[in-house]
C-alpha cells in the first residue's frame, strides 16, 4: 500500500480539523445557516429543473415491481367506472321518471283525476294508424277504450285497443286523430288534427273566429269530447286565412310524441264527474245539487 506524502498528510489533517470545526460550529449554534440556505436553494432549483428527466425514469423503475398488480388495479378501476356510468344513467332515468310521476300526481290532485301511470313499451304504426304507441298497462289496471292518455299537463292520445296487460294509444299527432279543443283566450271551439312531428292543424268551428299567434288550446268542451277536458294541446304558431273566408292555424304540440316515456291513463274523474254547487241569488242559503244531496244522504246511511 502506498503512503501519504507529508504534504498530503498535512492537507488531510488540516481539512479534517476544518470539517470538525464546521460540525461543532453548525451543531452548536447553526452558524452556517446562511450557507445551508444558499446551497439548498441552488440545489433545489437544480432538482426541480432536472425532475422532468429524472421523474419519468424514477416512476418507470418504481412501477416495475407493481406491473402485475397495476394491471389488476386498472381492470378493477375500469369495472368500477363502467358500474358508475351505469348507475349514473340509471339515476338520470330514475330522476326523469320521478319528475314525470310527480307531474302526473300533480295533474291527478289538481283535476280530481284517477290516473294510472304507464310506460311506453312500443312505438310505431298499428291498428290502421301511423302514430300509435303501446303501453304496459291494460284491462287489468282498469284501462278501457277511449280513455285519455296524458303526460301530466298535455294530451298524448286516447286508448283504441286494450288487452289484459297492455293497451294501444292513438297518438294525438296522428293525421287521423281529431281533437275537440277550446281557445283559452276567446273560448272559441275548434278541431285540432294531428300533423305528426309538425304539431296540429287547427280549424275553428266558426270560420270568422279570432285566432292569434300565441293562443293556447285545451281539450274541451267537457263531456262533449272523447278526450278528458282541460289538457293542453298546443300553441298557435301561425294563422292563415283562405280565399273563401275560412281560417286555419298551425299549432305547436304541447308535448313531443317522439319523446314519450312515462304517461298516465285517465281512468275517470275530471270537471264533468265531480258533484258541484248550484248558484243561488246573493244572500240565499247555499245548496248542493240534487245528485250531491243524494250522495251525501247515501254516505250518512
Amino acid at each position: 500500500m502506498r503512503r501519504l506524502t507529508r504534504r498530503q498528510r498535512i492537507s488531510a489533517i488540516a481539512l479534517a480539523v476544518i470539517a470538525i470545526c464546521f460540525v461543532t460550529l453548525d451543531d452548536a449554534g447553526g452558524g452556517l445557516r446562511n450557507a445551508h440556505g444558499g446551497v439548498r436553494g441552488a440545489m433545489g432549483a437544480l432538482y426541480r429543473s432536472t425532475d422532468s428527466v429524472l421523474g419519468p425514469t424514477r416512476r418507470f423503475v418504481q412501477g416495475i415491481p407493481d406491473v402485475g398488480s397495476s394491471r389488476a388495479e386498472i381492470d378493477k378501476l375500469r369495472r368500477e367506472n363502467t358500474d358508475l356510468h351505469r348507475q349514473l344513467a340509471a339515476s338520470q332515468a330514475e330522476a326523469k321518471s320521478t319528475a314525470e310521476l310527480n307531474r302526473l300526481q300533480l295533474a291527478a290532485d289538481a283535476g280530481g283525476l284517477t290516473i294510472v301511470p304507464a310506460k311506453l313499451i312500443a312505438f310505431g304504426p298499428g291498428e290502421g294508424f301511423d302514430w300509435t304507441a303501446t303501453l304496459d298497462v291494460g284491462a287489468g289496471s282498469g284501462v278501457a277504450v277511449d280513455q285519455t292518455v296524458t303526460d301530466g299537463s298535455a294530451v298524448v292520445g286516447r286508448i283504441i285497443h286494450v288487452d289484459s296487460s297492455s293497451s294501444v294509444v292513438l297518438l294525438a299527432a296522428d293525421p287521423g286523430s281529431g281533437i275537440g279543443v277550446r281557445d283559452t283566450r276567446t273560448g272559441q271551439l275548434a278541431v285540432a288534427t294531428g300533423a305528426g312531428t309538425a304539431g296540429f292543424t287547427l280549424v275553428p268551428l266558426d270560420p270568422s273566429a279570432d285566432l292569434k299567434v300565441g293562443d293556447q288550446l285545451q281539450t274541451g268542451p267537457a263531456g262533449q269530447s272523447t278526450y278528458a277536458a282541460g289538457l293542453l294541446v298546443g300553441t298557435v304558431i301561425a294563422v292563415r286565412a283562405s280565399g273563401d273566408g275560412t281560417t286555419q292555424a298551425a299549432l305547436r304540440a304541447a308535448t313531443s310524441p317522439t319523446a314519450l316515456d312515462l304517461v298516465g291513463v285517465i281512468l275517470h274523474g275530471g270537471p264533468n264527474s265531480a258533484p258541484r254547487a248550484v248558484i243561488t241569488p246573493s244572500g240565499a242559503e247555499p245548496a248542493t245539487s240534487p245528485s250531491a244531496g243524494a250522495a251525501q244522504s247515501a254516505g250518512h246511511r
Binding site: 502506498r2 492537507s11 460550529l25 453548525d26 437544480l46 423503475v61
Partner: protein
Amino acid sequence: MTVRRAVAALAAVVSAMIVQAGLVVPLAGHIPVSLPAILVAAVALATGPSTGIALGFTAGLLADLASQHPAGVLALCWLGLGVGAGLLAEHTTKRRAIIAGALAALSTFAAGLLLAALGPYGTPAMDCIRYAGPAAIGDVAVALALTPIVQAMLRSPALRARPAVRRA
C-alpha cells in the same frame, strides 16, 4: 489539478447529488446507497490520494450544506474515503468497482453513526447497522456501473493530468 479537471469534478459531484436525490434515494428506500461517495471512491482509486482528499472534502461539504444535518460530517467521512481509496489506488486495478463500493458503504456507515451520535439528524444507529449489509451490496452494484465510466472519463485527453515538469 487543472481548472478543467476541477470544473469537471464539481460538475460530476453536482450531477451525482442530483441523481442521488432524484433517483437513487427514492428507489433505494431505507437502504443508504450513496452515489457521490461511490464517485469520490472511484476517482480516488483512479487518481490517488491528492485528488481523493480534495474531492472527498469538497463533495462532502457540498452534500452537507445541501442537507439538514450539521456541515462537516460528510466532509470528514468522505475525506477519509478519499484518503483510503487514494492509498489503494496502485493496488486495485482489477477490483476497483468492488473496493469503491465497499469503501463508499463504509464511509456512509461511519457518517450514519456520527450523525446518530450528534443527535436527531440522521437515522438511528440501529438502523445504520441493520442496513449496512444491503447498503454495501447496493453501493457495489452502483460502483460496478459507475467506476468504468469514471475511469474512461479520467483517461480522456481533456481531463488527463499533465506530467510534472522538473526544472533542470
